[in-house]
C-alpha cells in the first residue's frame, strides 16, 4: 500500500521521457507498444491481487472477540480454482499473440539470413571491441563511437566483435542485439526522427564496460551524403 503511493511520484520524478518508452524508430515503436500492453495486463493482475489481499486482511484479521475462536475449515471450491487457472491463461494468450508476431517480425530481420541484404538500406558494419565501437560505411568511411544515420531510411547493421561479447543498444531506436567474436549478427530499423541518441554496450565486457558508449546521430538524407564525403 505504501509502495503504491510512491510509484506515480517516481514516475513524475523520472520525467515522462523515459527513453525506452519514447521511440524514434519503427522497431522501437513496436517494442514500446508491447511494453505498454504487457504492463497494462499485468497491472490488472496486480490490482486484483492487491484488492483481495487488502480486503481479506482487514476482514479476517484477528479481532478482540475472536482471539480464541477456531474457524471452520473451508472446502475447496472447484469454480474458484477453475477461474484463477483459466483467467490467467486467457490474459497470457492476449499477450502471447502480439509477442509471437513481434518476435517473428523483429528477430528474423536481426538474426535472419545474413546474405540477403535488403535493398535500399544503409549498410553499416559495426565492430565492437574492448571498449569502443567502430562503424564502417559502404564507401569505406569509418567513425569511432559515433554512428550517423539518415532519417527515414532503413539502417541495416551487421555486427561483429573483435574480442569478447558486447551488446549493441540504442534504447530510442531499437532493442539490443549481442555482438559476438567470429559470428555476424544483424539489426535493422528505420529511424523516423532527427536527433542524437545515446547508445551503450549492454553486455558486461570487462574493466571499462561502463565507458563503452556511443552516440547515434540521425540527420537528413542530404546532410548524411555530405557527411559521408568528408575527409
Amino acid at each position: 500500500m505504501k509502495k503504491l503511493l510512491f510509484l506515480p511520484v517516481l514516475l513524475l520524478l523520472a520525467g515522462c521521457n523515459i527513453r525506452a518508452l519514447h521511440p524514434a524508430s519503427d522497431t522501437a515503436a513496436t517494442l514500446t507498444d508491447l511494453i505498454y500492453l504487457s504492463f497494462g495486463l499485468m497491472m490488472l493482475v496486480f490490482v486484483v491481487v492487491m484488492v483481495l489481499f487488502i480486503y481479506y486482511l482487514r476482514k479476517f484479521r484477528e479481532k478482540a472477540y475472536n482471539v480464541h475462536h477456531i474457524p471452520l475449515d473451508t472446502r475447496e471450491n472447484k469454480w474458484f480454482e477453475i477461474t484463477w487457472t483459466v483467467l490467467p491463461i486467457i490474459l497470457l494468450t492476449i499477450l502471447a499473440v502480439p509477442t509471437v508476431q513481434a518476435t517473428y517480425e523483429l528477430t528474423s530481420s536481426s538474426a535472419g539470413n545474413v546474405d540477403e541484404a535488403p535493398q535500399q538500406a544503409v549498410e553499416i558494419q559495426v565492430t565492437g571491441k574492448q571498449f569502443n565501437w567502430r562503424f564502417t560505411y559502404e564507401n569505406g568511411k569509418q567513425s569511432m563511437n559515433e554512428l550517423v544515420l539518415p532519417v527515414g531510411q532503413k539502417a541495416s547493421l551487421r555486427l561483429q566483435s573483435e574480442d569478447v561479447i558486447h551488446s549493441f543498444w540504442v534504447p530510442r531506436l531499437a532493442g539490443k542485439i549481442d555482438v559476438f567474436p567470429g559470428k555476424v549478427t544483424r539489426l535493422s530499423f528505420v529511424p523516423n526522427e532527427k536527433g542524437t541518441y545515446q547508445g551503450k554496450c549492454a553486455e558486461f565486457c570487462g574493466a571499462e564496460h561502463t565507458q563503452m558508449r556511443f552516440d547515434t546521430r540521425v540527420i537528413s538524407e542530404g546532410e548524411f551524403q555530405e557527411w559521408l564525403k568528408q575527409e
Partner: protein, 635 residues
C-alpha cells in the same frame, strides 16, 4: 585508474585485513573467556540435523553481511553521477558486483534454505534425523569450504570479476588471465558438491523416514517443497558441475570449449542457464513451502487447495527446465527459439498464480494472527507479485530486447529473490527459532526489522525499473548527468541503507534473545505440524515414541479434539549419529587441493588429492551401524 594504494596493496584490502584481524582476535578472546571452545568442538564433530542446520544458518548470515556490504559499496558508488567513491570503479567495481551476486546466490540463498530444511524437515515428517547424518556433515563442511575459498579471493586481491554468470570468452584465460576467476570456479564447485549430497539426503529421508501413516499426500507443504527442490538440485547442479569443469579446463589446460575455431561462447550460456534457471526455482520453492505453512498456521486454517499447491510446485519445477533461453533472447537464436521460450516462460505464471490465490484463500474466512513470521509472509505476497508480473513482461521476447541486461532486470530478480527467498528465510527463522535454540525472537524488534527492511527494499528496487527503461545497463560503475537517472539512483541508495539498518535490528534481536531470554514452549505458535509436538529446542531423538499420522495437520486436529496423537509400533530404525572430525578435515583437504588448482601449484594438488582419497578409503572401511546392530543382537 586512481586506486589509492598502501604500499603495493589497494587500501580496501588493507582495511579488510585490519578489521578481520581485530574481529578475529576479539572473537577468539571472547570464546576463550566464555569457555565456549568445548561447544565449538562439539559442533565441529556433530552429525545432528538441527546443529548442522544452525551452522548453515549462522554461516549464511555471516555471508549475507559480506554480500550486503558489497551491495552498499555498489549503491554508494552509484549514488550520484560521475562518482568516485573510494576504490570502487572499473575492475574493483566489477569485482564487487561479481562477489555480491555469487555470494548472495550460492552462499546466502542456498544455505539459508538448506539450513531451514535441515532444522525443520525431519521434524515435520517425524524422522529422528536425516537419512545419512555423516553425509550431511560432509555436505555442510563442503559448503563451508567453498564459501571460505570464495571469500579468500578478496583478501589476496584476487576477487573474481566476470559477473556471477561468468560469461565466456571474457571468463577464459585469454581475457582474464589472473587467478581471480579460478576462485569462482573452485569455490562454487566445492560448495555445489555439498549441495548435491544434501539433495540426495533430503530425497532419501523423505522417501524412507516419514512417520507411519504420513503418506506423501499428508505431508506438510514445506516438506513437499523440499522434496521437489531436491529433485531440481539433483538434475540441475550436475550441469553446473560440468560447465565449471569445462571452463576450468579452458582456463588451466588450454582447451577451447568456449572460444576459438571449434568452441563457442554460446555453449557456456546454454550450460549456465540450463543450470541457472532451475536454480532460481531451487531457491524460491522452499520459500513457497515456508509461506504455505506459515500462512496456514497464522490464519488458523488448513491450507487452501493442498492438492493444487503440490501440483503447482511440481509443475513449476518441471517448466523450470524448459525456459533457460529466456536469458538469451538477444543472442540471436532465431525467432523460433525465442517464441518457444517466451511461451514456456509465460506458462510458468499460471501455476504461480494458482499458488498466490490459494494463499489468499487460506486467509479468507480464517482468523489472521499477525506475528512476525506472518508479517514476513504478508510482505511477501505483494512484493513477489510485482516480481512475478515484471517476469511476465520480460517473457515478451521482443520487449526483452529493451529490458535485457538493464536495471529493469536487476529490479525484477531482486523482487523475486528478496521477496521470495530472503523474506521466506527470515519468516522461517522467526518461525522455527524456538526449535533451533529453545527461545523466541523478540516480536517488537522483529517488527522493526520487517518494516525497515520492506520499506528499504521497495525504495531500493522500485526506481531501478525506471532507470533500466531509461537506458541504464546493469554492471556499470557510473552514469552521467545527461542520462537523467540521478534521482532514481539516489533514492535507491537511500533504500539500500535502510535495508542495511534493518539488519542491525535482526542481529541485535538474535543476540538479545540468546543472551537474555529463555524457555520457549514446545508449541509457541499454536502450530499444526509435527515439529510442534517435540520440545524446544528439538531434542536429539525427538520422536520416541513415534506418532502415527492419519491426516494432513494431524497434530492440529488432535489438539482441537483434545486427544493425543496415537503411537506407532512398526517404526523404521533411526539413522545413527556419530561424532567425528572426518567431515571437517575432508573439506579442509579438498580446500587445500582447490587452492592448488587456483594457483596452479602441482604439489599442493597432489597433497590435497591424496589426502582426500585417504578419507574415502577410511570411510569405505568404517560402518558405524555395525556397532549398533551388534548391540541390538545382544539384547
Amino acid at each position: 585508474m586512481n586506486i589509492p594504494f598502501i604500499g603495493e596493496v589497494p587500501s580496501d584490502i588493507v582495511v579488510a585485513w585490519i578489521i578481520s584481524i581485530l574481529l578475529g582476535g576479539f572473537l577468539f578472546s571472547w570464546v576463550t573467556k566464555a569457555g565456549k571452545w568445548q561447544v565449538i568442538m562439539k559442533y565441529a564433530q556433530t552429525t545432528h540435523h538441527r546443529k548442522i542446520g544452525v551452522m548453515y544458518l549462522l554461516l549464511a548470515v555471516v555471508f549475507f553481511i559480506r554480500g550486503g556490504i558489497d551491495a552498499l559499496f555498489i549503491r554508494t558508488q552509484l549514488a550520484v553521477p560521475e562518482n568516485d567513491f573510494w576504490v570502487f570503479q572499473s575492475q574493483k567495481y566489477n569485482e564487487v558486483f561479481t562477489t555480491h551476486g555469487t555470494i548472495m546466490i550460492f552462499f546466502v540463498a542456498m544455505p539459508l534454505l538448506i539450513g531451514l530444511m535441515n532444522v525443520a524437515l525431519p521434524l515435520q515428517i517425524g524422522a529422528n534425523d536425516l537419512a545419512f547424518p555423516y553425509l550431511n556433515a560432509v555436505s555442510f563442511w563442503l559448503f563451508a569450504a567453498g564459501g571460505v575459498i570464495f571469500n579468500m579471493a578478496f583478501f589476496f586481491n584476487a576477487a573474481p570479476n566476470a559477473g556471477w554468470t561468468m560469461y565466456t570468452p571474457l571468463a577464459t584465460d585469454t581475457f582474464t588471465t589472473e587467478p581471480n576467476n579460478n576462485y569462482y570456479i573452485l569455490g562454487v564447485q566445492v560448495s555445489g558438491l555439498g549441495t548435491i549430497f544434501t539433495a540426495i539426503n533430503m530425497i532419501v529421508t523423505i522417501i524412507r523416514l516419514r512417520a507411519p501413516g504420513m503418506k506423501l499426500s499428508r505431508m506438510p507443504l514445506f516438506s513437499w517443497s523440499a522434496l521437489i527442490t531436491s529433485v531440481l538440485i539433483l538434475v540441475a547442479f550436475p550441469v553446473l558441475t560440468i560447465a565449471l569443469l569445462l571452463l576450468m579446463f579452458d582456463r588451466l589446460y588450454g582447451t577451447n570449449f568456449f572460444m576459438g575455431e571449434v568452441g563457442d561462447p554460446v555453449y557456456w550460456q546454454h550450460l549456465f542457464w540450463i543450470f541457472g534457471h532451475p536454480e532460481v526455482y531451487i531457491i524460491v520453492l522452499p520459500a513457497f513451502g515456508i509461506f504455505s505453512d506459515i500462512i496456514s498456521n497464522f490464519s488458523t486454517k488448513r491450507v487452501y487447495g493442498y492438492t493444487s499447491m503440490v501440483a503447482a510446485l511440481a509443475l513449476i519445477g518441471l517448466l523450470g527446465f524448459m525456459v533457460w533461453a529466456h536469458h538469451m533472447f538477444t543472442v540471436g537464436l532465431g525467432s523460433m527459439a525465442n517464441t518457444f521460450f517466451a511461451i514456456t516462460t509465460m506458462l510458468i505464471a499460471v501455476p504461480t498464480g494458482i499458488k498466490v490465490f490459494n494463499w489468499l484463500f487460506t486467509m479468507r474466512k480464517g482468523i489472521v494472527k499477525i506475528r512476525t513470521p506472518m508479517l514476513f509472509a504478508l510482505g511477501f505476497i505483494p512484493t513477489f507479485v510485482i516480481g512475478g508480473v515484471t517476469g511476465v513482461m520480460l517473457a515478451v521476447a521482443a520487449a526483452d530486447y529493451q529490458y535485457h541486461d538493464s536495471y529493469f532486470v536487476v529490479a525484477h530478480f531482486h523482487y523475486t529473490i528478496i521477496g521470495g527467498t530472503i523474506l521466506g528465510s527470515f519468516a522461517g527463522i522467526y518461525y522455527w527459532f524456538p526449535k533451533m535454540t529453545g527461545k523466541m525472537l523478540n516480536e517488537k524488534l522483529g517488527k522493526w526489522h520487517f518494516w525497515l527492511f520492506l520499506i528499504g527494499f521497495h525504495l531500493t528496487f522500485m526506481p531501478q525499473h525506471f532507470a533500466g527503461l531509461n537506458g541504464m545497463p546493469r554492471r556499470v560503475y557510473t552514469y552521467m548527468w545527461e542520462d537523467h537517472i540521478f534521482l532514481l539512483n539516489f533514492v535507491s541508495t537511500i533504500g539500500a541503507f535502510l535495508m542495511g539498518a534493518s539488519m542491525l535490528f535482526f542481529i541485535w534481536n538474535i543476540y538479545y534473545t540468546c543472551r537474555f531470554t529463555g524457555g520457549a514452549a514446545a508449541d509457541p505458535w499454536n502450530g499444526r505440524t509435527l515439529e510442534w509436538t517435540v520440545g524446544s529446542p528439538a531434542p536429539e531423538h525427538p520422536f520416541e515414541p513415534m506418532p502415527r499420522i492419519d491426516s494432513l495437520d494431524a497434530y492440529w486436529y488432535a489438539k482441537i479434539n483434545k486427544k493425543q496423537l496415537p503411537e506407532a509400533e512398526d517404526v523404521r530404525p533411526s539413522p545413527i549419529a556419530v561424532e567425528t572430525f572426518q567431515p571437517v578435515l575432508l573439506a579442509g583437504v579438498i580446500g587445500i587441493m582447490s587452492i592448488g588448482f587456483i594457483y596452479g601449484w602441482l604439489w599442493m594438488q597432489i597433497v590435497g588429492a591424496g589426502a582426500s582419497l585417504a578419507f574415502f578409503v577410511i570411510r569405505s572401511l568404517t560402518d558405524e551401524r555395525k556397532r549398533v546392530y551388534e548391540r541390538e543382537e545382544e539384547l
